[in-house]
Symmetry: D2
Subunit: 387 residues, 4 copies
């Protein structure tokens, strides 16, 4: 457990007020390692609710804003030793672009929830702004923060399973199995609303995680795909069930399933990567295990916290094997990667890739293209090239 | 454990000599319940090997034949109280049609391995012959013999999980992850040879089981599909990896994966059926459990041998809960179904559907069409209607 | 799958008529490999029920007896080529001794259910009779027939886990969680009745299996023990819950739990053997896996049917990995061991230890002493030496 | 996820400097919910190391002490609005008593690691001091902080599984399977040293957790016990393997195993509680599940985060079902309980038992007696009454 002395970073949160699930997760994740301080916020799109949420979370009045533009103005007025180091954007997708672009352009580092933005055009603009500013920009594809996902990635990279030939990724949830959005549930409401979520429903909310997981672990690029997106709960405007066949550059084949109507399932994200020498299986609901099926010997079960894991898997772990770590720790690992990158910037050094390990704005941009292509393929009922 | 006194049926086996995996499974399965006697055989396509296999298995010389036509001639010469009641065909697929048609036409009941035949034309001819003769004709889609598969079917039928909306079936094996066929392994050789297996590789050998499992459990009919079949081991003539998106009549969506190149996997057939009220999950490698995820209460784990299972699940079980049953018992359940149907014919009665529970020639014919459509869709790179 | 031609052995069953659970298991197990024929029987202690059961199971009238003495007389009158090769005794424990002794003395091989007899005195007499006659005498401690139990034994023997230091064995069932014996359930009635079961309840019925499993896998001998046996269902005369601490010769420690009042549990037999280099875990309800925890590397999961298993584990398996085998196959493996021993006797040869692998009358005798010592320790409330 | 505004508590940590495993866990757990601030410390028994650790963790020099007495003096000199609200004691066991007594007597609330102290005499003195002062005193038996452990407790209390009859608790680790203490590993060194750990090795370090888990879930009191404690790694002064039979007031029976020499195992704490109507099973390495075996219906799997859980199980959970929580969250739940009790004291109110849910000094004292009785029974080789 590495704990260092140095100054805590300061951050502002945009969105994530009361009743927001993911804002609190971000705050818990950041708090866990004590590396950054919650300094300022504009916690809701409704000014009163924003201010009330900030008060409840203990923000001082001067740093508690009713609106993200007010927050930005205030930050810019402050001396650099008071100013936040980064902002975390946890609003619905429709507002990501304008907020992220404004803060990047103003010289702040940014962490943004996924999907990054609502179109490839926005994504490209943002990628360019980040490049121009030299900002650190992390996208919270949090599942790649799990130690055993990083172990899987490292085992693919180092050739342990040979050449990857087949990938199956499934992300099944059940929470949208009924028309929850008509009961006023906030999460359901915005995620099923094209105005706030964009063109993708399940494909955007969780399919995007699945795509990122595949990309992060295998490094393979999708060449073409055919998708079948359905709104299986009657009356829903966006897909709640997405199924795809994938072909990767180099010849590997894949299947991707992302569905939110699997009644009674919780958060069942599974990855299966098969190569010429072995197959890896990982499941988010039991995240400390990575199963390695071999061609020429018995199955191996790798567990978090073991001395024989890769350097990056070990770095992503806090406590000994057998003492379960979970979702918040994985989330915190993404933040630790962003913090290492910010600190490397500060000291004008080069970030250690094992330390500064986080999904970037490019990963976010590719995720947006993925959603677009999936929706397009499904509408047209045919295979499409990815690019 | 129901054991009854009456006369044992007599059967002949065609194929299944030494070194044949599945012939021995059929004999073990038939022997298990002591309901039928191995009476005659033509156990290989090579006469000497056929005769040698018969001797080793204890067939009397007069009933041990070098060739299935000799077997048929001999049977027809015998009085009915010596004649076999049924023949079991466990040869490679290319010979199924001529053997099955000859025995059906000659008035015998038949059990045939899957896939049934090599084309829909053959299948239709056979369906007609069975109808004309009033034969009992079982196809050994053995996975539907598992008690918990029958329980799943009954829970779909009785509305426990509501209207089915989503199906994912995966059948992953690893035994063809290398070019085993070039090392002279007999099973690999014929299964990867179009002359013996027909147009389908993995899609025929195991995809066909997956299709049957879905059909048996849900009763849904495939309306259209898009398939991506690949020969991922270089130089292979038939697919060893098959991935499909399915649409079912009535609106349900599905994904089917059948792959034999998942290095290190064994026989990992999994079914996931999700409806408006719940989701069922079953896995062949842990066959005694059926997991029932509910929308409005905790998960339920149903186990084989429990008093609260459906009548057909209970009938398919021999020993108490917690005493594992396996593959052979499930296989034997298909035979018990065929035997019940044969006995009902004998007594000119109506077969009890819980007793005479087995996959029929129609199931076999649908399976052949499934293989054809999958291959065609993959070649054309597009969605196709099933019919 | 080894299948050989030679003559089938003939057997008689004593006990195991209608409604008897274990008789049918024995018949299924023997039938599975087609190595022996059910030739004669005295299937119940009640003559009418015995005869009726024999008729239902298809015994010819001349070989169907109302009483085991009549069966013995009849067998002795027959020429040796008609006579049964062995008898299988599946009656309640109180009758084992007189039946087994009579058949051994008369020159028959015997398979007897566990526990062997009701006292160490009887056991010693029987051991002597078997030695005098040179009989093959198997005791159906069936759990040691599982391939992965044999693999565990071989891994202990070959030093894979180093010196064994700690053993935990638990056998938990729930079927006697209520006073089922008062509802006329036959199995419950005799197993809770001291007149039929002897001094041990759960300790005899299942504790005895646990003791045998430990002995078979580790080869260690119990040096001393302290036991706490309880009749937790009010009014029960015999223990339904047994807990013990064990010390083994050489210094290893152990814990043994055998309980039939664990409401809702099925047949949860678990073995945990820990040595200086590794720990093995096996669970009967998931019998195809053996988990090997290592000190210096990741966990290994060995599965039935793999090429890298020991010779005796491979011999105990019939079908490929991933195609579940179960309780009946394990039971049949005990019989295959007995048959190999009988055939070695016939040919005056030496039995191959990998073939003739079965629990012997000595194992049975040690099991009887185990029950006695456990009961005595519990009554006296103190540690006792085993011998 | 309830997050409230009010002032953060202030705390001092004693022990837990660099290289100390558990100190960092306490800090992570406290940080997670942002409810208390790390304000002061005396982080090691070696003054230089203490000061260095404090600097690295960002303590201001004035609050960073080389010695706990200096910390206490300094705190007492400060005005109450600067003074810490509680101290957390994470030193080796030998120092717990003097530190805890001093801070309690001086009017501070205390959280102390387990085992509480080294003798029942010390424990009783401390219990009295806590009573006299009206302090809040929590003992970090952290496993009772898991939501599904609280669910189990509530299901026992509300009669769901009927009258408890049988308990099996096992806590198996492998980290002391070799003589790690001779390689200078700090954790191993003090835990195997009677001077620092007292009379108990494994029985104190983890057996004590097992005892607390049983007590917390069932509420039953141990009436008598027989223990067998061994030092299975040669040369070790304290037990590394402990096995016990338990009898509870009211008639329930139990088995407790605590062992640190199970080569290759991680942190395998399991609880099995069986009652007249059902059996509950929980396992720390898969903490989000509670399995409920029922007598009259299928098994139920309860999962963390579900709406149908008990109020206290729901309160102990932060994020939705399927998003794994782990060890740190469970640990933090103990702290949340202590904080609620402290705040209730502050406001002179009565603590809500669902909020102020934590192991008390009485639980700690009972744990000390448990260790003493186990050691005594093992030495004497006989059953002993608990009191």
């Amino acid at each position: 457990m590495s704990e260092e002395s140095p100054r805590k970073l300061r951050y502002a949160m945009i969105g994530g007020g009361r009743d927001a699930f993911i804002g609190a997760v971000h705050r818990h994740a950041i708090a866990l390692d004590g590396m950054a301080e919650f300094t300022a916020g504009a916690l809701s799109s409704t000014p009163e609710r924003a201010l009330e949420s900030g008060r409840m979370l203990g923000l001082p009045p001067a740093r508690n804003h009713g609106d993200w533009r007010a927050l930005l103005d205030d930050e810019l007025r402050r001396p650099s030793d008071e100013r936040v180091d980064f902002v975390t954007i946890v609003t619905p997708t429709d507002t990501h672009f304008s907020i992220a672009e404004a803060f990047v352009t103003a010289g702040f580092h940014v962490v943004c929830d996924k999907p990054l933005v609502q179109s490839s055009e926005q994504a490209e603009t943002l990628v360019q702004a980040v490049a121009d500013q030299g900002s650190v920009f992390g996208v919270t594809y949090n599942y790649t923060g799990y130690p055993m996902v990083r172990q899987a990635r490292d085992m693919v990279r180092d050739g342990t399973i040979g050449t990857v030939r087949k990938i199956v990724v499934e992300y099944n949830q059940g929470w949208l199995a009924t028309a929850l959005e008509r009961e006023g549930q906030k999460q359901a409401s915005w995620r099923t609303d094209p105005a706030m979520s964009g063109i993708g429903g399940a494909i955007g909310d969780i399919g995007s995680h699945a795509e990122n997981l595949v990309s992060a672990v295998t490094g393979l690029e999708i060449e073409s795909l055919v998708a079948d997106l359905g709104a299986l709960v009657p009356g829903r405007a966006l897909d709640d069930d997405a199924n795809m066949l994938l072909r990767f550059r180099g010849g590997a084949r894949g299947v991707l399933v992302a569905s939110q109507i699997n009644t009674g399932l919780e958060n069942d994200l599974r990855l299966h990567v098969s190569g010429t020498l072995g197959t890896l299986e990982w499941r988010q609901e039991r995240p400390s295990r990575l199963i390695h099926h071999r061609h020429d010997g018995p199955k191996i079960v790798l567990t978090r916290g073991s001395p024989w894991l890769s350097a990056s898997a070990k770095r992503a772990s806090r406590i000994p094997a057998g003492h379960p770590e979970g979702f918040i720790e994985a989330f915190a690992n993404i933040y630790r990667g962003v913090f290492a990158a910010i600190k490397a910037k500060e000291s004008a050094g080069t970030a250690d890739p094992i330390e500064a390990d986080y999904p970037t704005v490019q990963d976010g941009a590719r995720g947006v293209r993925f959603i677009e292509r999936a929706v397009q393929s499904s509408k047209q009922g045919q295979w499409l090239a990815f690019d």
